[in-house]
Subunit: 316 residues, 2 copies
């Protein structure tokens, strides 16, 4: 088993969408990532919460087998984010961000953390992400995420970080802003030139693309008639993606990376079906694989020589 | 060989996009459809042009093997459309529509037309589409397209037509407007309930989906770093789609329909690379199939048991 170290936020989110409202729900990039990735690989979570962090949230993470020895409790209040989504579920409007204990977060890695073969540097200050990375022994795979705030405020630190990571996850808007390019294909090309051998650009309800070397791979979204709460979809995607790769122990093969994209899409599709982490707390690998294969069936195109074998009449 | 009858507009288009401008370029739904479909199957084109229609345009269609015996020349001017596209290449702003000879178009079908096994009723008045269909003998496959104008002005005639077609092509905006539903999945469900066993919803640069029975299939777009002129992309898509099905002579199998979606995407991707019909006039089946297979490679996800066979290192 190849454990994944994730360093990021554990938060309390207040979210309003067209489907409803939640106050102080369990959230944070490391939380979503861990809950999604734990179906595939052992997870070591490093983060910080305040003294007000509900006991049951911490219990939930531990009960799901997530190693929370690196989840520090500091004096003060937990990181809080509140936001709302309009008709376009791809765009969150941030109403308030209270960093609280997260402001002074200095990730402390112990021996087990430093030895993890896979590390996900979730969305935190890129200088901190680099600092965490420098503590790692010899990870086989380094991935990171970021957000608009860091693209605006610390672009140099972010570029420096990108020169040291294998996989960069971002959404379309972030990619275009970071690369100063008008579309995700051109943006991914610029970003790849800075270091990451794999650039994943998520387009929300429009699917995702993955650039490996000079080649672009393209993925449709899982078809959803309704999205209740898109919060955490990106980190859940990364969790399914890296979890699957860690479960295989293969980090440099296009075929595995394509399947990782499909697992990322699958996990994100579960996540957006309910508020907070509700819908990814109690899945199991059978349900995940059922939707994964359903997704592949919906997007797969048979080879000409397989057409007769796969015959499925329209009237079915 | 299974010929395809297409009835629709042959026009002169004046188009402005961020990549340039063209005046009185060859256009029209039946034109784009025919030029795309003719790589796959014999095409019988029924339409009307005015006396001003350039001789070289008609020669171009004939030289490409398109049967133009049903392309009437009427007294008056050719149908003209002019429009422009802004930053969002999915949305055309119509600047002017001059129906001219198209206003009195009453398609006349001869024996060969009436016997065609496949018919594409391109975007014209739904009452005319129904009238054409009533002249057909026993087509194995009936497909149609429409546009916002008819959805607004003749919804009842359009619904009546849909009860008689097998495949309906529309774009996302049209589907939502026609079905009065807020997203393409729900819209496709409503439209399918009116008759078509296959509903294809095109989402422009975001790909497409296909509803067959109760099941939704999903397709990413072919990755394009630049779109020069999206005019005709929908009809080119339908041309690749129906052309491929006609070439197989199989109209009711999910696998064939999935490949048809990929051929539609492929043909549309060629079309948007240049103004008017320029980039689909002189392709050949090898170039088409090369891009078709490239598209499939970019979107295909290997099965777990094929991972080792398909090994492609990232560093390639």
């Amino acid at each position: 088993m190849n454990p994944i170290l994730v360093v990021g936020s554990v938060a309390l989110d207040t979210v309003k969408t067209s489907a409803g409202f939640i106050e102080d729900g369990l959230g944070g990039s490391a939380t979503y990532f861990s809950l999604a990735a734990r179906y595939f690989a052992p997870i070591l979570l490093v983060g910080v919460v305040g003294e007000d962090f509900p006991r049951e949230h911490k219990a939930l993470l531990r009960d799901r087998g997530i190693d929370c020895s690196g989840l520090e409790t500091a004096a003060g209040e937990t990181f809080r984010w509140s936001g709302k989504y309009g008709k376009d579920a791809n765009v969150a409007k941030t109403l308030a961000t209270h960093l609280n204990v997260f402001k002074d977060f200095r990730p402390k890695l112990d021996e087990a953390h430093r030895s993890a073969p896979v590390v996900f540097l979730a969305n935190i200050d890129p200088e901190l992400q680099s600092e965490v990375l420098s503590q790692m022994k010899e990870p086989a795979l380094v991935a990171c995420d970021t957000m608009n705030f860091w693209i605006d405020s610390k672009p140099a630190a972010l570029k420096e970080l990108l020169s040291k990571v294998d996989i960069f996850f971002c959404n379309e808007e972030e990619a275009e802003k970071l690369a100063k390019r008008p579309n995700p294909l051109q943006a991914a090309e610029v970003i790849a030139s800075w270091g990451p051998s794999v650039v994943v650009v998520k387009k929300g309800e429009h699917g995702a693309l993955m650039k490996i070397g000079s080649r672009i791979y393209i993925f449709p979204p899982y078809p959803m008639a309704e999205i209740k709460d898109p919060t955490g979809a990106g980190d859940t995607f990364a969790g399914g993606f890296l979890g699957y790769l860690a479960s295989c122990g293969v980090y440099d093969d296009v075929g595995h990376l394509k399947r990782a994209m499909a697992y990322g899409t699958t996990m994100a599709s579960f996540n957006v079906e309910d508020f907070s982490t509700r819908n990814i707390e109690d899945l199991d690998r059978d349900r995940i694989d059922e939707r994964f294969h359903d997704f592949l069936d919906r997007m797969s195109v048979p080879r000409a020589e397989d057409l007769l074998k796969s015959r499925r009449p329209v009237a079915a």
